[in-house]
Symmetry: C2
Subunit: 507 residues, 2 copies
């Protein structure tokens, strides 16, 4: 219980929400804009998003999808067609009503009364409606199927309480939309994309996730089944990190997407949609970062290694800078995760200590300090972001080059394992309602846990318990795969059931 | 004057505007959406955009810029601050006035009167205002400069007359925004990015462009100087394919972006902005395509080669498909333009002739037909999109592999040279007003030309001639670099001047 100085104040323990803001601030990832609920994603944050995009886009294409782009605006009449969908999104959307501004006579501007739109439009909160409308024109026969498309874009859902990356009125995401001849094929697509999200989370972001199915009340508006990956943050809260929806024939009926099938019958097609967003950056931060700032898994870090020149005397500058340049070149020739290693050199005029802590706060996985003595002795100072900041090892250049790829892989694995251990240590099996209440009796902002419990997933049972869940400030996160065949007793209804649920507080 | 059948009807000669629509349609690049003025970019069109993005993004980063993301919405009060800017954009913007919908009591939806925004916002037509606002917080001293950022995003300018890719209410683009301590540095930045756009157009899209400076009436609203690259379409009209603006201190004054400079004085910084958009795809189509459909330069073609299996007897299918697969693998091992060659195999169930013409219409640079006879004789049939469709050569596999990289480079160069020859053949030097009027006396939709003429670029002279330009349906395209030091007589004012201008009809 020694009091240690940390780069971030407050610490996770002291105030998790404030710590999160501070990590974003010191790593210069993003900031609030002057526009309510909208953020500015800054270069280091955007570079993270670009790496996430690149990794996921590759997998989306490898699974047979093609990228497209649909309009930002959706006419109200489109939204109105699917009843549950409109309920889910009408309450929180930006509405465009005019197409021109004019002087308000007081030196300012106002929407021009002469330029009111005949039909208002909303900024897309998601694109099932406008894509459904297009698909209805594209599909005539089963030969036109499957349609497998994806778009990377911005979407808008008007939020009252916002948090950088986790919940903002505008966010960036990808949304996949597919149409199929048969139900089986559509269900397989839904589950395949869930696997892609799991792979992105676990293999790239080093975030362990629990795959499962949403209970009825948590489904996407208009979906038959919603599947998700759920991650545990370091405060024990859940964060949904990706969702994949089997939409059945709900949207194809609403938008009249039908075709002649192989049995020569006109039939509505089966559709799916799936999405993941800049929220993943929030998940990344809250999974790995520590009281010294951001911690990045090497596989998606914009820079995997930072070389820090330490110039004590001006006369040594040239020697040291040239050495750093040549070391960077050698490192870049090495492959790791099937790509060249990404190496930066800190060329700023800051003092060595500031450079060192700057790299720590930005989460760069490996730091190499190079001064005159290190060069002369062929003994480079190496430190890792996943270890305490001041823990350094000394390696000669040859060894360092030989071991670097394996080291980055090891750091990636360590981060995943550490997060998995944490998740498992904070997941508790519960068999009675009293136990459940005890777990969630405390302050919402204290350390939380995941609860795994037997659960009757019928809509009636869920409707009956929603008030209790609300009181405990928890939600059903998912019916996790792999836990759905051992009989037990539902902790709420007392009914016998084979199903289990994850209950948690959530972002 | 023989009557030849063409895949596109009408031909360019018959009706250029309709031909353009048809090329887009048969290549399946994009279509009009149900949302007024907004397009759906389909897979083949979006893949083109991704290749343009990738090429340009690399150059933007190599010149020191970093990607970021700013909010979609801009409060009216931000727009109001720069007088010329607001004039330029207030007339054509989508205005968000509400943040919720509610039932209209007739089974439909309407903007909720309780959810009117205190301050309306517009969907960004461009982001100088909101980025300027942020920069004012980021910049304190010259140490914070330069700021060199770029964003890839959608923007919206409400257009009454739209044309796919060329003029749509929503379009995709990149917009760079930079801030500098000195005027010289900002001007250099402006011109450097103009060079980047020239390189993108000429070296990647094979579109020859004329670099120059805009005359006062054609400047970006709020700019001190606007530079552009102008391309000539096959109907002789001009298309602006990229612009770079030196904004001086106009925006830094309006948004109060100031810093302590090296002379210890508080001073407003100098800013620039530069953009290019999905318009480039329109330019690409109208520069290279012919009466058989799209023609793509190899460097940005989503597929550079298509292999067409020709199966006459079902028993040969396996042999032919395996051969095509192995040929594709061998081709993909070859590098061209510093990347692996992109090869597709047409695996559709269509007849060979349909596959062949499908590849022609989609603009794929090289087609290879593979049937049983071709395999047995080791004599593959190769045809090029830049040559007449039915002109084929026969090559053995080894030769074909050895020569493919050079062939793609040759096609790229041929397309550029052909377009350059066309541009030069249709640019005319004019020394009198009568000549100018004669050039533009004809129908706007007939073959047009560029006119190069001596011109007094003073704002007064330009203001005086605007009615005449309007009458002739032409605009000043730019004062082209390299033509600004030979004295002559302005064809409008009769004043002596060293400046020359390009006049043309334009998209």
């Amino acid at each position: 219980m020694t009091s240690q100085k940390t780069a971030i104040n407050p610490t996770r323990e002291q105030d998790f929400a404030q710590w999160y803001q501070e990590v974003i601030s010191v790593a210069d990832l993003a900031e609030h804009s002057a526009v309510r609920g909208c953020m500015i994603i800054k270069p280091w944050g955007y570079a993270l998003w670009e790496n996430i995009q690149k990794s996921l886009d590759k997998m989306i294409k490898e699974t047979g999808h093609q990228n497209v782009y649909f309009p930002l605006l959706i006419p109200l009449s489109f939204l109105e067609k699917e009843a549950k969908h409109v309920e889910g999104f009408a309450k929180e959307c930006a509405v465009v009503t005019h197409h021109r501004l004019e002087s308000n006579g007081k030196g300012g501007l106002m929407p021009s009364p002469d330029a009111q739109l005949a039909e208002p439009m909303i900024i897309r909160p998601t694109s099932e409606t406008i894509i459904g409308q297009a698909m209805s024109k594209w599909v005539q026969s089963y030969n036109d199927l499957p349609i497998l498309i994806n778009q990377w874009c911005n979407v808008m859902r008007w939020e009252m309480r916002t948090r950088l990356f986790i919940r903002t009125s505008e966010f960036l995401w990808q949304e996949g939309h597919t149409a199929h001849e048969t139900q089986d094929e559509a269900v397989n697509e839904t589950l395949m994309m869930l696997d892609v999200y799991e792979k992105l989370a676990q293999d790239y972001l080093a975030i362990p996730v629990i795959k499962g199915e949403k209970t009825p009340s948590e489904r996407f508006p208009g979906a038959v089944d919603t599947y998700c990956i759920e991650a545990m943050m370091q405060d024990g809260k859940a964060l949904q990190a990706g969702t994949s929806h089997f939409l059945g024939q709900n949207f194809s009926s609403a938008y009249d997407i039908k075709c002649m099938n192989r049995q020569q019958q006109m039939t509505h097609v089966f559709t799916t949609s799936w999405g993941s967003s800049t929220r993943l950056i929030g998940a990344l931060i809250m999974t790995h970062s520590d009281d010294d700032g951001l911690v990045l898994p090497p596989r998606i870090a914009p820079e995997q290694i930072i070389i820090i020149p330490v110039v004590m005397k001006e006369e040594d500058r040239k020697l040291i800078e040239e050495y750093c340049q040549s070391l960077a070149q050698d490192l870049r020739k090495i492959a790791c995760f099937d790509e060249s290693i990404r190496v930066g050199i800190d060329k700023t005029a800051r003092r060595a200590g500031e450079k060192f802590w700057g790299a720590v706060k930005k989460g760069i996985p490996v730091r190499i300090e190079v001064g005159k003595r290190e060069i002369e002795n062929d003994a480079l100072s190496l430190s890792r972001r996943d270890k305490p900041a001041k823990e350094k090892t000394t390696q000669n250049r040859q060894t360092l080059l030989e071991k670097m790829s394996a080291l980055l892989v090891e750091i990636q694995q360590q981060l995943f394992q550490r997060a998995l251990d944490f998740q498992q240590a904070h997941t508790r099996r519960v068999t009675t309602l009293a136990e459940l209440k005890a777990v969630f009796s405390g302050d919402e902002n204290a350390r939380n846990e995941f609860v795994l419990a037997h659960f009757d997933p019928s809509a009636e049972n869920e409707a009956a318990i929603l008030p209790l869940l609300k009181e405990l400030k928890i939600t059903t996160r998912c019916l996790p795969f792999g836990y759905q065949d051992e009989e037990g007793v539902c902790i709420f209804s007392g009914n016998k059931t084979c199903h289990q649920v994850i209950l948690a507080r959530a972002y």
